[in-house]
């Protein structure tokens, strides 16, 4: 990765993921402490709870994100990323970050523990791999480091096999997307089932006719994470769970389900935090407009963006994982009354993924040229593109503009890989573009492949 167009912060996150096991490189102790004494080591019946490389350390990312706001103008994210390894060499990285942001992280650890509480009380037995849990490496995919992702994913598959894992249950829809959609494409013979917490819980609640009581009336709304709703098509489960909790007054936000709006993450929070913040405002306003007292969601990155977002506009609305709401209600007991056959749709929004013959430059170029040549420049994808909206419809950071730039890059127009990568990195991978595209392009996946092409073609000096 050294000497390529990859920015410092992406290198930092990627190297941490593969060598330390979490995005911030905090180490196994930090990453697994939430589960101590809570879960047995190793799979139970082939099943593990999979925390992933983000959720258990998301509070540190939130801390850094908040600090960055204060440092605005003084230090950008890439300089901050440079400080990490230096601090680590000095032996003060983990201690330092823990002292600074350990408290913030406790809220995320609670989300994980609440999920385990719910699973256990529904009689769903899971184990945990602790420090053996291999990181999914989804960030490698997100940032277009596809060759590294492939290599890593193959290793993960082997590790999971060795550890006897057949099924994972996770709270994080981003890692679930990796396991469900990317792994089958990149790893031959991938055979690990990845289930989402809400799927497992909804199914079990339906089957047993579970009814819960919150013991208070609360008006809430739910933010559908793009990865969960639009990408994986999981929507109905959430509504079902909410309908089975007495005391919940549920209000849908204007955009919801597969038409949800982006809260500003998708990797952008790491590469271009000020733009991520800007993107989040529309969603924050929308969620606020529901009049809800609390916002629930099911993605660690969305939680982070919404928590910091509400704070930054001075609105006091708490944002929690849906697991915490279910756990709270479950603490008042479980009634079993109306069993029913679980029936939840799996929505399909996107066209099939584009497939290059290999990850060699020429094959990437051939696929990208063919696909982006099909783009008719109608601009339908730009209408809801959150980054285009946040930037007053700036073409080069819009969905259509990105298709044009990828096409220019592979065709040899005088555009520079590093600068194109910067435009491609400004995308949150929400998929609203693909949803609107009449031609049926898988726009955000082309953006990921475009990132790969820019990285592998853009050696230092060529930038």
């Amino acid at each position: 990765m050294k000497g390529t167009a990859v920015p410092e912060i992406v290198r930092f996150a990627a190297e941490n993921t593969t060598s330390v096991g979490d995005v911030l490189g905090l180490g196994a102790d930090q990453r697994t402490r939430w589960a101590r004494g809570l879960l047995p080591r190793g799979p139970v019946d082939g099943t593990v709870f999979y925390a992933g490389e983000m959720y258990p350390v998301m509070g540190y990312a939130e801390g850094a994100f908040r600090a960055l706001k204060r440092l605005e103008g003084l230090m950008d994210i890439n300089s901050l990323a440079k400080a990490g390894p230096i601090m680590r060499k000095l032996g003060i990285y983990t201690v330092g970050t823990k002292a600074l942001w350990g408290r913030i992280n406790e809220r995320y650890e609670k989300g994980l523990r609440d999920a385990i509480y719910v699973l256990k009380n529904l009689g769903i037995e899971v184990g945990y791999l602790f420090e053996d849990e291999p990181p999914s490496g989804v960030a490698l995919h997100t940032y277009g480091l596809l060759r590294e992702f492939k290599e890593h994913a193959e290793w993960v598959h082997q590790r999971l096999r060795e550890l006897g894992v057949k099924r994972v249950i996770t709270l994080d829809p981003i890692v679930a997307t990796a396991f469900r959609l990317y792994y089958p494409e990149f790893v031959e013979g991938w055979d690990v089932e990845a289930l989402l917490f809400v799927e497992v819980v909804a199914r079990e609640m339906a089957r047993r006719g579970v009814r819960l009581r919150l013991g208070r009336e609360v008006k809430i709304t739910y933010h559908d994470p793009c990865y969960l709703a639009r990408t994986l098509g999981v929507v109905d489960e959430v509504r079902f769970i909410l309908s089975r909790i007495d005391g919940v007054k549920y209000v849908e936000p204007p955009r919801h389900g597969v038409n949800t709006g982006c809260s500003g993450d998708g990797g952008l929070e790491l590469t271009q935090p000020p733009l991520a913040r800007k993107v989040s405002y529309e969603r924050i306003e929308e969620l606020k407009s529901t009049g809800a007292e609390m916002v629930f969601t099911s993605c660690p990155a969305c939680i982070m963006m919404l928590r910091t977002g509400f704070d930054s506009v001075g609105v006091n609305i708490s944002v929690e994982d849906l697991a915490s709401l279910v756990a709270e209600a479950m603490r008042n007991g479980i009634e079993e009354a109306m069993p029913e056959e679980p029936r939840f749709s799996r929505y399909r929004v996107f066209p099939p993924s584009p497939k290059p013959k290999s990850l060699e430059l020429k094959d990437l170029a051939e696929m990208l040229e063919w696909e982006t040549d099909k783009c008719k420049k109608c601009g339908f994808c730009n209408v809801e593109c959150p980054t285009a909206k946040a930037l007053d419809r700036l073409e080069s950071r819009s969905a259509r503009g990105r298709m044009t730039l990828i096409n220019s890059l592979v065709k040899g127009d005088p555009v520079r890989p590093k600068a194109v990568l910067d435009r491609l990195y400004s995308c949150v991978l929400c998929g609203q573009c693909s949803q609107a595209c009449p031609v049926g392009l898988h726009v955000q996946e082309l953006i990921v492949y475009g990132r790969a092409y820019a990285i592998y073609s853009g050696k230092a000096g060529v930038t």
């Binding site: 008719k376 601009g379 209408v383 419809r393 073409e395 259509r400 127009d413 555009v415 009449p438």
Partner: protein, 461 residues
């Protein structure tokens, strides 16, 4: 002097952040929805105020730098694509304020607001903005005026031209012209509004417009008829009009359109030689009677009909028309979307001639369009990697244009001329109107844009 001088002066005057010169920013503005023409400008200026527009036009005129106004770049003719690298693309999308004045019956929109945003703003008050190009969610008011765009509701409500009360325009050099008044009647001539409508950015930059609004129809009933013979569909359309019905929408699709939509999108629309879809609007008490009469006319012409006012079923009846663009663009990497208009009485002749062309060239060409106003979109499908197909497609494109002229129609009903139809356009003008006409227009151009900086190379300039 020249281009770089102009750019640095503009940056200084309006702020560097509004002036894009990095290749990765300007290349994003190198195309439009024709995808046929490509040229990146040397700079893009993102105008957020009238003063920005004025400065650009003043400096560019002095330095003789071409200025290409741009809305959302959905033109299908290359109109917003620069013709030289040392051009400025003037992006008006940041200017997008919309204000509805229900009492006075108009909406004021800045050039960069989208047509749909304008329509939505009106709907909050129980009104709407009738022109509805299929691109309305993307296309801007400035672009729609500069192209005199029309849409599905054109059968009843006409095109952009019919809805403008007043405009503000900036000319090369930076002078501002305020044309018309935001009232329903004013009469001093000559009417300069029409001069700028359809001018494709070659005469000046439209910065805002005052547009008429219309009360939302109380109720709409959709009537759909399928026909075993094209002639029958044609006679249904002309009978509907002859008997004095003016449906809000009156669309025609041929067999090939229905087949492609079914093939590509997997819809199960009944295949027939032709389909006609009409939206009949009116007061709640009367609309079903009117729809019934339209249905009756279709039946008399041999159509099998269905009618509904249920939103979901209405959607079903419209499925094949709605999916047409998506289906052809999904199935074919190369698509040439024609846009001819013929007198209604010649609609059937046109359709038959198109059928002959299709057979002669052996390329697929679904035909759909706004039959209510004689505007057809024969859509030539081909593989651009195949040189033979590419050549055939281009030849067909020209022949279709000529066909329209021969039948007393026009080579473009709504998409405009741009670069794609420039030669055909000159052919049409010379054949029908003669050199004298050209001369008059040239003089107008010289008067308004003596240095020829406004969108050079487009239309006849």
């Amino acid at each position: 002097m020249g281009f770089s001088q102009a750019i640095s002066e503009i940056s200084k005057k309006i702020g560097r952040e509004k002036v894009l010169t990095e290749p990765e920013d300007v290349y994003a503005y190198s195309l439009d929805a024709s995808t046929e023409f490509k040229q990146a400008p040397g700079a893009v200026v993102r105008a957020s105020s009238e003063e920005d527009v004025r400065v650009v036009l003043e400096v560019a005129d002095r330095e003789r730098v071409p200025v290409v106004p741009r809305g959302s770049g959905t033109s299908l003719t290359g109109a917003p694509v620069p013709t030289s690298p040392e051009s400025i693309v003037l992006d008006l999308t940041p200017m997008n304020r919309v204000e509805v004045n229900v009492d006075d019956g108009y909406v004021m929109a800045e050039a960069g607001a989208t047509v749909l945003e304008v329509d939505k703003a009106c709907r909050e008050f129980g009104f709407f903005f009738p022109p509805d190009p299929a691109s309305s969610r993307v296309a801007t008011i400035g672009g729609a005026l500069a192209e005199n765009a029309g849409g599905l509701r054109g059968a009843k409500f006409g095109v952009m031209k019919n809805w403008v009360l007043a405009m503000e325009v900036y000319l090369a050099g930076g002078r501002k012209l305020r044309i018309g008044e935001p009232v329903y009647k004013w009469r001093w001539g000559p009417d300069l509004l029409s001069l700028f409508i359809g001018s494709e950015g070659t005469l000046g930059v439209i910065t805002r417009a005052w547009l008429k609004i219309y009360p939302l129809p109380e109720k709409v009933v959709r009537v759909m008829g399928t026909f075993d013979r094209l002639e029958d569909a044609g006679s249904a359309i002309s009978q509907v009009r002859r008997r004095g019905y003016v449906p809000m929408m009156l669309e025609l699709l041929d067999r090939e359109t229905i087949e492609i939509v079914n093939e590509v999108l997997g819809y199960g629309v009944e295949v027939a030689e032709a389909m006609v879809v009409a939206d009949v609007d009116g007061p709640r008490e009367a609309v079903w009677r009117m729809a019934g009469e339209v249905e009756q006319v279709m039946k008399e012409s041999g159509g099998r009909t269905r009618a509904s006012d249920d939103p979901e079923e209405m959607q079903q009846l419209y499925l094949a028309r709605q999916g047409a663009y998506a289906a052809v663009t999904r199935a074919y990497p190369g698509v040439l979307l024609e846009d001819i208009t013929v007198p209604l009485s010649k609609l059937m002749i046109a359709l038959r001639e198109l059928e002959k062309l299709r057979k002669e060239y052996g390329l697929r060409m679904p035909v759909f369009g706004h039959a209510g106003d004689g505007n057809l979109h024969p859509t030539i499908c081909f593989d651009p990697r195949d040189e033979e197909q590419l050549r055939k497609a281009k030849e067909m494109f020209v022949k279709i244009g000529r066909l329209a002229v021969e039948l007393g129609g026009a080579i473009s009903g709504e998409h405009g001329i741009g670069l794609a139809k420039k030669e055909l356009f000159l052919e049409e003008i010379k054949a029908v109107r003669g050199e004298g006409y050209l001369e008059v227009v040239r003089r107008i151009k010289e008067l308004l844009d003596p240095n020829g900086i406004m969108n050079p190379g487009k239309l006849w300039f």
